[in-house]
Amino acid sequence: MSSQVRKNNRSRSSNHVRKLAFSAMFAALALIFSYVEVLIPVPVPIPGVKLGIANLVILIAIYRLGFRYAFTINCVRIVASGLLFSGVFGMIYSFAGGILSIIIMYLLYRTKLFSMVGVSMAGGVAHNLGQLATACLIVSNIKLMSYFAVLLFSGLISGILIGILAYHIEKRLPKDIN
């Protein structure tokens, strides 16, 4: 065993611990954003129309920490905010939307073709689509899809807004958060 190998191992595990610490902070921040989200009144009385500020954190986590960390952060956020604010029933919807949106966002991010705004935009739309599809399953009624147009445009707009915000924040974040 050369000391080089041991040193490599140590730096790899310390890198892992560092990422873990950042993930924990990101998850806490995402949870706070989920709470802020509940406080902000929505001008339209349609369920599912919201800003999705927590997505800001998830988006930056995808870019800085990688998919596995971002995915875990998202799951932790959904479970915690489900237990705290929206109840188990709401958690099912959050999971459907959150998982679909993070997968779509990661795939678009991987193509390197899209900016953060485009990735976030697609994520917003995917989130609403996932939630609506779950709602259709739960009430076993395809008719609900007529809400889709509304939710699609609301997801589009909030996704773009969050994307622009995330772009500016990510640019100013210290380089050693990665």
Partner: protein, 122 residues
């Protein structure tokens, strides 16, 4: 900050959304019957012309559906979010009031045969 692919994706989503809204709004006419679905099963069909109140009770959840002057509204629900009550009155086909927590859906259907829609919603 914004790349070409973003704009292409944006246009695609907008066109897709436009098509969906066109599809869901087209052919919307004043309906004649009210179809109530509870927990995925048909609960009953009621005439829009007749003023009445229908109580739907499933698994301890209650919804009051009121038909008045050719419109339907959810006047009372035991659910927490009250989205269904806030939806207001509907009267056109393709309109629907949905109470997700209690799994109650109120739809307007046209004259007698809601045909295609009924087949799809099974």
């Amino acid at each position: 900050m914004i790349k070409k692919a973003d704009i292409v994706l944006f246009i695609l989503i907008v066109v897709f959304g436009g098509l969906i809204s066109w599809w869901s709004l087209a052919g919307s006419i004043a309906g004649e019957k009210v179809l109530i679905t509870a927990d995925g099963r048909d609960y009953g069909v009621y005439s829009l012309a007749e003023d009445q109140t229908i109580d739907v009770t499933i698994d301890g959840h209650t919804n009051h559906i009121t038909i008045k002057d050719g419109t339907v509204s959810m006047t009372y629900s035991t659910c927490k979010n009250q989205v269904c009550v806030n939806t207001g009155a509907i009267s056109q086909t393709k309109d629907a009031i949905v109470c997700l927590p209690n799994k109650v859906v109120v739809e307007i259907v046209g004259s007698g045969k809601g045909g295609a829609a009924d087949v799809i919603s099974g």
